[in-house]
Symmetry: C2
Subunit: 156 residues, 2 copies
DNA sequence: ATATAAAACTTTAAGCTTGAAATATCTTGC
DNA sequence: GCAAGATATTTCAAGCTTAAAGTTTTATAT
């Protein structure tokens, strides 16, 4: 999945395969760097950061299913991550009156403060890691990736 | 990490942040789709496929450390995946005379045959999933990602 | 009303992943 | 030769991840 250095494949469709390999390597490289920094500087993990980032944008809270849909991960996965965040006091579950199956998950005050700090560092890291990409290229690339994505949304 | 639908951040550096979010979402979406198909059609996983793909390009075999460096994952991780592939008869470890710490890992005949089949399907899937990206755009994007990557290689 | 289905979530088992510690082997400097 | 350090790999504990199965609650159709 990750690459192929030697033979340099050619033929129809090979350009897309090569694109995918590069895409995957780029994101894995950045992801690894972010994971390491999150651990070293803030003693947290990428999945925790992801969940908190989602909640930060939804002060009113989110359902578990909203979270898993948004983060593109399974339900059970989110359960575990939220459990740990709750036990650390960064996140709270609030039972709802209307539907007792669901609970609204939101950042605690401590969680909000904590995330704001981490997010600021995170944005700086991204600026550093993607520093070689011009703002112009960044916008172009973003556009291409967006149009690709819309090709896939709502599937499955 | 994965996205931000609502506020649409703006300001200096936000274009790169947005690019990173899109990059990550795109690769996660494709990865999830590939994982699902590998499981359903060939009863295997992405990590196994990654390892086999690396070995397929190195008929003479690879050291464990080569594998982990190439795949951008930790040593211990590769140990487990190779263990499972060995137990399934797809991969073999060969002790070396020169250096008894190391072993050459390579695909068995069965592993080679198995991988060839899966790889053909895989390439088709990528062509399908990235179908909306023109070959021209694919090359341009690949170029941008490559230059980004070279910015990072050899670090740490 | 009451069964049936649907929805939201949690639990479980298996596998993936990391970073750190442990083993074993090789290399170097004396 | 041999201690000290460097390399290659495995082991370990903790956490992440998925798919599938299970639980509780709500909605729907008789």
């Amino acid at each position: 999945m990750v690459a192929g250095p030697l033979p340099a494949p050619s033929g129809p469709g090979k350009d897309r395969l090569r694109l995918w390999i590069r895409l995957l390597r780029a994101s894995r490289t950045i992801e690894a760097e972010l994971r390491e920094r999150l651990k070293k500087e803030f003693d947290t993990t990428l999945p925790r950061f992801d969940v908190m980032a989602a909640l930060y944008r939804a002060p009113e809270g989110m359902l578990m299913s909203d979270l898993s849909r948004f983060l593109l991960v399974s339900n059970g996965n989110v359960t575990g991550i939220v459990d740990r965040l709750v036990s650390e006091g960064l996140v709270a579950r609030a039972r709802r009156n209307g539907d007792r199956r669901t609970s609204m998950v939101r950042l605690t005050e401590e969680g909000t403060k904590s995330f704001a700090t981490i997010a600021a560092a995170h944005e700086g890291w991204i600026g550093e890691l993607l520093g070689k990409v011009s703002e112009e290229d960044a916008r172009r690339l973003t556009g291409m990736l967006t149009s690709f994505r819309s090709n896939w949304e709502g599937r499955e």
